[in-house]
């Protein structure tokens, strides 16, 4: 296998017997060993388990036609998604030795389709961050420039795909944590409509916002993985009933007749001029693909960041109260029960997690609840209404995914407000529960990836992906399958 393949191509070639799952697994492991010193994308990876799985798939032989949509395909998994018997640290010291006793719904679905869980990837602690620098264990580096951030909080998954180690990965997106690292690492990343992918087995950060979603190098691959993991799950009470998406059958229908809106409020945001230009050129390509582009308004855009952080951190303060050292995770034996709780959590959580829990606890506390949490929830409804109004005029909303390209490691780690601003273009869709796709649309003069975001109405995931596919085609193949030449030489040293 000479070059990193699309996941769909891998599954087809494995099913046809051209490649064996064993050969695919060994190749990806070799690439991982070559790339990992550069990227530090993985927190744990069990080679024996991967090879055992590959050998089992090989011994069972190709699946019957119509089954095995991921047959033999390695999929990296963000380390807040439970895989039975594998570490699940959430990037936190508090869960350093925790191993789940069950697998998440999405993992069961991937394995039912012949996929191979390929390691657990690095992340900002409990999903709280936009650079993956808040991981308690290591710093992941952008495969396009190792001195820069990969984005976050799913930076490890983005880097694993961008560096050519695996064709597919799972991440989670609460305020942009799939879309933003996808943009910064030059991959495709998709946050589905809230409720379309089961959260059973996902360690919760903010329960009304969290969604698991796919990373891939192409929209087709992302669409395939989404179709596998999506669908109603009775174990998730927020799972959309009777939902079974049909994405692939219409993926190549194009964007003819669709109307895409560009929010005028995005012009008021501090967006890198190179990103603006790249997105404008991409919109020209979308028009050439027979879509219409119109200006729209999302009047409450500038309030999305404060609304998001107050809501998310309030929910997090409740969700993370379970990490008290009683039933799992590290425990600091110290005095009475209260002292045990306080010292366990002081030692187990990093600074950003403590900051966000404190913010959330304050917002929910007596005397402040109305002014902060309730106010944020009311503004959240306004933001949702903005999207509903816009979607009466347009089919989709497009714009940049991130206001800035990947910046140097360490640049914003001590400035929370500057860090939060990274998410200004992604949190609105999160607050409204809408699907959002990020795909590469260009490079900066320094060779850093730029991402364009497509947001659709609730449950329009298939349309969002179809439009992304049309744009990807219009932008040309070299963009969508581009791997930085530097990384290509690392993972495939035989290539000239």
């Amino acid at each position: 296998m000479n070059r990193p393949l699309e996941g769909i191509a891998m599954a087809r070639l494995c099913s046809e017997g051209v490649y064996s799952p064993i050969e695919i697994a060994m190749t990806c492991l070799a690439r991982m060993k070559a790339a990992e010193p550069e990227t530090c994308a993985f927190l744990s990876l069990d080679e024996d388990r991967i090879m055992a799985r590959a050998e089992l798939l090989a011994s069972e032989g190709p699946p019957p036609e119509g089954a095995g949509r991921l047959f033999g395909v390695p999929v990296a998994v963000k380390d807040n998604i439970c895989v039975e018997g594998q570490p699940c640290t959430c990037g936190s010291k508090s869960l350093e030795r925790f191993k789940p006793i069950f697998s998440a719904c999405v993992i069961r679905r991937i394995e039912a389709e012949g996929g191979i869980v390929f390691g657990k990837t690095n992340m900002d602690e409990f999903g709280m961050g936009s650079t993956t620098e808040f991981s308690a264990f290591k710093t992941t580096r952008n495969p396009w420039d190792a001195s820069r951030i990969p984005g976050g909080s799913s930076g490890g998954s983005a880097a694993a795909v961008a560096s050519g180690v695996v064709p597919l990965a799972l991440g989670t997106d609460t305020g942009g944590s799939i879309r933003q690292p996808a943009a910064l690492c030059g991959t495709v990343g998709f946050k589905p409509t809230y409720g379309t992918v089961s959260r059973f087995g996902l360690v919760a950060f903010a329960s009304s916002l969290d969604q698991i979603g796919p990373f891939g190098k192409t929209v087709r691959d992302v669409a395939r993985l989404f179709e596998v993991i999506a669908g109603h799950d009775a174990d998730d009470s927020t799972s959309v009933p009777d939902y079974a998406p049909d994405v692939m059958s219409r993926l190549d229908e194009g964007a003819t007749g669709l109307c895409a809106g560009v929010p005028e409020e995005y012009l008021d945001l501090d967006i890198d001029p190179q990103i603006r230009s790249a997105v404008e050129r991409a919109l020209d390509s979308l028009e050439k693909a027979s879509a219409r582009i119109e200006k729209i308004s999302l009047p409450h855009t500038k309030f999305a960041i404060p609304a998001y952080f107050l809501v998310a951190d309030s929910e997090a303060s409740s969700n993370l109260s379970r990490f008290d050292g009683v039933r799992y995770g590290a425990r600091n034996e110290s005095g009475d029960l209260m002292e045990m709780y306080e010292s366990t959590r002081a030692k187990g959580f990093g600074l950003e997690v403590k900051r966000r829990i404190m913010l959330g606890t304050f917002s929910l506390s007596s005397g402040y609840y109305d002014a902060y949490y309730l106010k944020a929830m009311k503004v959240r409804q306004r933001i949702k209404n903005d999207f509903a109004d816009a979607f009466r005029k347009v089919d989709l909303i497009v714009g940049p995914t991130s206001p800035v390209p990947a910046f140097p490691l360490g640049e914003r780690v001590d400035d929370p407000l500057a860090m939060y601003a990274c998410d200004s273009l992604t949190v609105p869709a999160s607050l409204a529960g809408l699907p959002g796709l990020s795909l590469p649309c260009g490079l900066t003069a320094d060779g850093l990836p730029i991402g364009l975001q497509i947001v659709g109405p609730e449950l329009s995931d298939a349309c969002v992906l179809r439009t992304g596919k049309a744009l990807e085609t219009a932008l040309g193949a070299p963009m969508h399958s581009k791997l930085s030449q530097r990384m290509l030489k690392i993972v495939e040293p035989g290539l000239k």
Partner: protein, 94 residues
């Protein structure tokens, strides 16, 4: 906006032990963040409803019947403080 006493109170509510020298740092950072977030006051919301829930679904119900669960042994497997089938904690009641 969030003085040192409030930080100590919030930390207690959150069950997070804070070293005393960290209190003014949290006071400063949280105050700056919340000052910025008060921009939400620009939005008139007196008559608005809050978003609850984020999607309009009715929570599903199932039959109130016991289902198989994980073994006690498996559940205790992630702690070093399990004994005789229970989690051990510091004494709560004197």
């Amino acid at each position: 906006m969030i003085d040192n006493d409030t930080v100590r109170k919030v930390a207690r509510l959150a069950r997070i032990g804070l070293e005393e020298e960290k209190v003014p740092i949290f006071s400063d950072q949280l105050s700056r963040i919340l000052t910025c977030f008060r921009s939400l006051d620009e939005v008139e919301t007196d008559d608005s409803a809050a978003l609850d829930p984020p999607s309009p679904m009715t929570p599903p119900l199932r039959e109130d019947a016991a289902r198989p669960s994980h073994s006690r042994e498996a559940m205790l497997g992630n702690t070093e403080h399990g004994s005789r089938g229970v989690y051990q904690v510091p004494r709560v009641i004197e």
